[in-house]
């Protein structure tokens, strides 16, 4: 996890999806009888694109529309995406539980409408984690994502929510 956070550049192929991609299509409930990330990754996005889990490459990027990750609170959804090797999810907006969950488990996400409009399926995309700049290498277009709120940055810097809390707990121990 640590090395992922230190990397400043993520490059991969874009997988585009539409608006309101819900957590039931990201990871259908029929697979929720386990919380094993590798197992969940095998079925990632299955009901939106049955080929996705088999073809996605490490570093690839998911591009969604509005309200990405709406529906259930299942953390299995961002876990399955992370487990599938996806480096970033870019969307116009995220559903709020998904947004929290993604930061908590260390799945990088960015809100950027211009990028959603300017990235097509299969485009080669680069994300600069430090600046939130996104570049479509296929078209040459560049986009600036909405800055990540400082509190979320703190969670990322700590290595996720659990590490953040562990640090707090240790600090307050007698």
């Amino acid at each position: 996890m640590g090395s992922e956070r230190l990397a400043v550049r993520f490059e991969g192929q874009a997988w585009t999806f539409g608006d309101n991609i819900d957590t039931d299509v990201i990871i259908p409930a029929r697979y929720l009888n386990t919380s094993d990330t590798a197992e969940l990754a095998k079925h990632c996005m299955e009901d939106a694109d049955p080929d996705f889990a088999g073809e996605v490459q490490a570093g690839d990027i998911i591009v969604g529309g509005n309200n990405f990750g709406c529906g259930s609170s299942r953390e299995h959804a961002p876990l399955s995406i992370k487990g599938a090797g996806v480096s970033y999810v870019i969307a116009r907006t995220f559903a709020r539980i998904f947004y929290r969950n993604a930061f908590n488990i260390g799945l990088p996400i960015l809100e950027c409408s211009a990028a959603v409009d300017g990235i097509g399926p299969g485009d080669q995309v680069v994300v600069d984690a430090a600046t939130g700049r996104i570049k479509n290498l296929t078209t040459g277009e560049e986009f600036a994502a909405k800055p990540i709120p400082p509190f979320m940055q703190e969670i990322i810097a700590a290595g996720g929510l659990i590490a953040h809390v562990r640090r707090k707990v240790k600090a307050s121990a007698p």
Partner: protein
């Protein structure tokens, strides 16, 4: 400074005089909730934090309800992780099969959530408890783990949208129809990150069960929470159940809202949400001829006493249509018992329904009524996403219990007026 009910509750638990929308706060939680899907993951994360005990064994509530009674070996293993954790931590509010219910029916019934509470649950429909005037919202397993350890969590204070429901509800129009109509109007992201505050004379006249249904589906409009200010009806409901002291908050008359939306409910018909989105609503009369294979009456949305009474009233002496499987799931063991006492279960069985012990089961396509390819169901549940109740090419139509019962009799989406 004027505040909304949501702002007042959050300010109190954050130990502040006031909070404003957009502000990040750390707030104490009155209770936290997990189920057999989300708790195992939370327990795994909790163990990494380095504290031995949960913050309060009475306030960490675990309810196995999604895949229990265990549907397969894997789900049995998950439920076991939860059960063992509950025993090891001495949790007083772990509810075993045969003594449980669907979490969002169970917690209010048991008086575990009350007015003025801040509740988080690793389940998106935790927003249901807004019906008693609590601030309640869904989170993921990692947030649950952190709150189990600390008894607090962080929130961004949401803006509120005020919904005013005026006029008198026509017959067969209940809380489900008001909320489906609302979601159809504002869309599945119409209240993204915001609080939905339900007010007006039609809410004053709505039963607690109807209010639970409305608050339950706030998440279906993307909201952080749904809330109804407590009134006499609320107090009557919570007074004898409350396991902790509660506090009543109401919005100031001059509180600031992101917007105010007014509906005249006398113009609303029973609603149906067509596949594959809760905001794809139509009036039942405009549904056309939609033949169905299954009807599900139950869930945290419509599995309460009022819902079962309504279903029994419409079913009456009609038989379930020969092409339809009608599955009825009382929300809790207590609701099941009372439905037996009132003769509702006898009615259901007589007309040819399958009645089950409380479980989420088919609502999320878990078990007990999973749909095959191409099948269609009318359900009183809250989501009709692709694959929600089974095969990705099956379809779910959301409706109130009276419409669901009428549809079960006629084998197609039907208005209750057609059979009564």
């Amino acid at each position: 400074m004027a505040m909304t009910i949501t702002e007042k509750i959050l300010a109190r638990r954050a130990g502040k005089d006031r909070v404003t929308p957009g502000e990040l706060i750390s707030a104490r939680v009155d209770a936290v909730l997990g189920n057999d899907i989300t708790a195992p993951l939370a327990i795994r994360e909790f163990k990494k934090i380095g504290v031995k005990r949960v913050f309060d064994p009475e306030r960490v509530i675990l309810v196995p309800d999604h895949f229990v009674p265990n549907k397969d070996i894997k789900s049995a293993e998950q439920a076991k992780i939860m059960r063992e954790f509950a025993r090891a931590q001495g949790l007083t509010n772990y509810f075993e099969v045969g003594r449980m219910g669907i979490e969002h029916c169970l917690l209010p019934e048991q008086g575990l959530v009350g007015p003025g509470d801040v509740i988080i649950g690793a389940d998106s429909h935790t927003c249901t408890y807004g019906a008693v005037g609590a601030f309640a919202t869904g989170v993921g397993s990692t947030d649950l783990a952190a709150a189990m350890a600390q008894g607090e969590t962080w929130f961004k204070v949401p803006e509120s949208i005020k919904f005013v429901y005026e006029g008198e509800r026509p017959e067969w129009v209940g809380g489900k129809d008001l909320i489906l109509h609302t979601i159809g109007d504002i869309g599945v992201e119409g209240a993204l990150y915001q609080a939905m505050e339900f007010t007006g004379p039609a809410i004053d006249n709505l039963s607690m069960d109807g209010r639970f249904t409305m608050a339950n589906m706030a998440i279906e409009a993307g909201a952080k929470n749904g809330i109804v200010a407590p009134d006499e009806r609320t107090v009557n409901y919570v007074r004898d159940r409350a396991q902790r002291p509660y506090e009543i908050f109401r919005s100031d008359p001059d509180a600031v809202y992101a917007r105010t939306i007014v509906y005249d409910v006398s113009k609303i018909e029973p609603q149906v949400s067509f596949p594959h989105s809760p905001d794809n609503t139509r009036a039942v009369s405009a549904a056309g001829n939609v033949e169905i294979d299954q009807v599900v009456i139950g869930s945290c949305t419509n599995g309460r006493m009022e819902d079962l009474r309504l279903a029994a009233r419409v079913l009456g002496r009609h038989n379930v249509h020969k092409n339809v499987r009608l599955i009825i799931l009382p929300g809790t063991q207590e609701i099941y018992r009372q439905a037996m006492e009132e003769g509702l279960i006898a009615t259901f069985i007589a007309v040819g329904a399958a009645v089950s012990t409380p479980t989420c089961g088919p609502c999320l396509g878990g078990y007990m009524g999973v749909l095959a390819k191409g099948e269609r169901a009318v359900a009183t549940t809250n989501r009709n996403f692709v694959g929600r109740m089974g095969h990705p090419e099956s379809e779910v139509y959301l409706a109130n219990p009276a419409v669901a019962a009428a549809s079960a009799i006629l084998g197609r989406i039907a208005h209750p007026g057609e059979v009564i």
